[in-house]
């Protein structure tokens, strides 16, 4: 199921403004890769270009190639809707659909595909996805309650369950823990460790300890100044980035000298 990601000279624009310039990166399947860097350096923008969510904003566009295994998702004729079913995304703030129950939230992706599910099959999917997101035991008795009634951490795991339910190849996480308390954060981090056995995971985080805890490889993004494009400065094994980075900017950032 899981796929690798390769970016070749990827430029990301907001209208005429070049937000991220010339990213070349290879992300292995079944691994966790963290993007770190100061605010506004383009890591979230780049992440959103990995499932073509970037272009949802008016005027936003991408140049270059982005390969999912061997398929360029920016090739002409590729439907962004198909790309997004293969590359799921978890957002900074938990966003379960407020009008849906927990169960309906998990099945939301299936409903989109128009699949007619039998009651028992739907039950299986819900249980599997919620177990996969370590949420089953907490919600199994109230699956028909609104998803928005859960705590923030539970909501975020519900969002992960919703993403996992449709079995994507890649899961993108945009600061998934930034709105959560430490206990919930720990739960999500444990979950990431389990999910990487089946999925390629890319996570943007402001928390460097988190990057160090969960990821195998880390990419450091930086920006030369306001109005300048963000760039990927260094990409290496996480322990190298944090202990022995080759670039001076990276070293200054991970050691807390700026940012």
């Amino acid at each position: 199921m899981s796929k690798s990601i390769t970016a070749k000279d990827l430029n990301v624009y907001y209208g005429d403004f070049l937000a991220v310039e010339g990213v070349n990166i290879e992300i292995a399947a079944r691994s966790v890769t963290a993007f770190i860097g100061p605010s506004g350096c383009g890591k979230t923008t780049f992440l959103r270009s990995l499932n073509r969510m970037h272009e949802v904003l008016p005027g936003a566009r991408v140049e270059g190639e982005l390969l999912l295994d061997d398929d360029n998702i920016y090739a002409p004729g590729v439907d962004p809707v198909t790309v997004r079913t293969m590359v799921g995304m978890v957002f900074q703030r938990p966003n379960p659909f407020p009008t849906m129950s927990i169960r309906e939230n998990v099945l939301a992706g299936y409903k989109l595909n128009g699949a007619r599910l039998s009651r028992s099959r739907a039950d299986e999917i819900v249980e599997e996805a919620l177990r996969g997101a370590n949420l089953w035991n907490e919600v199994k008795d109230r699956l028909d309650n609104p998803g928005s009634g859960l705590s923030g951490g539970q909501q975020q795991r519900l969002c992960i369950a919703r993403t996992v339910a449709v079995k994507p190849d890649v899961i993108l996480m945009d600061e998934p823990c930034s709105a959560l308390d430490p206990i919930s954060t720990l739960a999500i981090e444990d979950l990431i460790g389990e999910l990487k056995q089946d999925y390629t995971i890319v996570i943007v985080t402001h928390n460097m300890q988190q990057a160090a805890r969960v990821s195998e490889k880390t990419a450091f993004f930086n920006i030369a100044g306001t109005g300048k494009p963000g760039k990927m400065i260094e990409y290496d094994d996480t322990h190298v980035i944090f202990n022995n980075p080759s670039n001076e900017q990276t070293e200054r950032y991970v050691s807390g000298k700026f940012g």
């Binding site: 499932n51 969510m53 949802v56 008016p58 809707v81 198909t82 997004r84 079913t85 799921g88 995304m89 957002f91 703030r93 966003n95 379960p96 659909f97 407020p98 009008t99 849906m100 129950s101 939301a108 992706g109 409903k111 989109l112 595909n113 609104p146 928005s148 009634g149 969002c159 919703r162 993403t163 449709v166």
Partner: protein, 330 residues
């Protein structure tokens, strides 16, 4: 409660302020406190004014309508009044229903186009045009419906009668002037369109980006995203908009008076006949002698319309609140 900079404090405020050891926490010398009070009093007054006005209207209608259901010599004549009122009630509801059935899908579609599909510049100008529709006086709509739309619909009614007369709605001989309840309904639809559209547009625009993106990230097309994130979020707003439109359609007087040639209650929408409460009042009131039973009768159906509108609004509130815990407000 206590504010030192306010000379005429209320008795309670004085009693707290005169405590010998009034701590500095209790006395506020911020000038904002006074403003706060003025504002809350104004807000309270505004709220009370509405209630009082409403109460007076209800009181006036009730007091003046007793003549319609009670005669000195015969006693209670409720049955007679009901017989008089029910065709008008049904006619009013039919006209309003036609208006809503025609206007709601168009309004929701236009609002969606403006909020989610049109390029920004175009959506602005469409918004203006829709708002302009609301600015046209109803007498103009009435004149348009009477002299243009009615005659234009005559062949349509003839066609409906020829092919669909097995449906009771289209049986009966089609009107030769086009001044039917269906024409009135179409005119009303145009009139309520801007109300429903602007309410829907406002609410569609407010759909949280988070939820839209959640749907898109799951692989939803734009239409699926709208069904998944926009409509559920906007549900209460759409209902409010429709109910506002219904309120206008129920109460609209001038346009219906001009368009409709009133008659007895009939199931046919395409022949002359039917009337609505506002049209009946508008046509009958100038001829009713003050203090007469006829005038009381007209005021009484006015009261009936008032009650219908009240019920409509309360139903709308109930529908909106029924799914409160799923509304996303929590």
């Amino acid at each position: 409660m206590t504010s030192s900079d306010e000379p005429q404090s209320s008795p309670t405020a004085v009693s707290t302020a005169t405590r010998p050891q009034a701590s500095s926490l209790r006395t506020s010398d911020s000038p904002g406190v006074f403003g706060d009070r003025v504002f809350s009093t104004l807000a309270l007054l505004a709220g009370v004014t509405i209630l009082v006005t409403l109460a007076f209207v209800a009181l006036f209608l009730t007091a003046n309508s007793t003549g319609a259901i009670h005669r000195e010599e015969e006693g209670w004549i409720v049955g007679q009044f009901v017989e008089y009122a029910y065709p008008l009630v049904v006619g009013t509801l039919i006209a309003a229903l036609i208006a809503l059935v025609l206007a709601t899908p168009v309004a929701v579609g236009v609002a969606l186009y403006i909020s989610h599909f049109a390029p920004p510049r175009l959506s602005k100008s469409i918004g203006y045009v829709i708002d302009l529709l609301a600015a046209i006086p109803s007498v103009v709509y009435g004149a348009w419906g009477m002299s243009f739309l009615g005659p234009a619909l005559v062949p349509v009614y003839a066609w409906l009668h020829q092919y669909l007369s097995f449906i009771p709605l289209f049986s009966g001989s089609p009107s030769q002037t086009g001044r039917t309840i269906l024409t009135a309904g179409v005119v009303l639809a145009v009139m309520v369109l801007p109300i429903i559209t602007s309410v829907c547009r406002e609410i569609f625009i407010q759909t949280p980006k988070l939820h839209e993106e959640a749907a898109l990230a799951l692989g939803a097309t734009r239409w699926e995203m709208i069904r998944m994130a926009v409509f559920p979020f906007a549900r209460a707003g759409i209902i409010s908009g429709v109910m506002l439109g219904l309120g206008r359609a129920l109460g609209e007087t001038m346009a219906v008076t001009l368009v409709l040639s009133p008659g007895l209650l009939t199931a046919s929408l395409i022949s002359a006949g039917n009337s609505t409460i506002p049209a009946e009042i508008a046509l009958g009131f100038p001829e009713a002698p003050p203090g007469s039973e006829r005038q009381a009768q007209l005021i009484a159906i006015g009261l009936v319309l008032f009650i219908i509108t009240l019920i409509v609004n309360m139903t709308a509130r109930w529908i909106v609140s029924r799914h409160k815990e799923f509304s996303g407000a929590n």
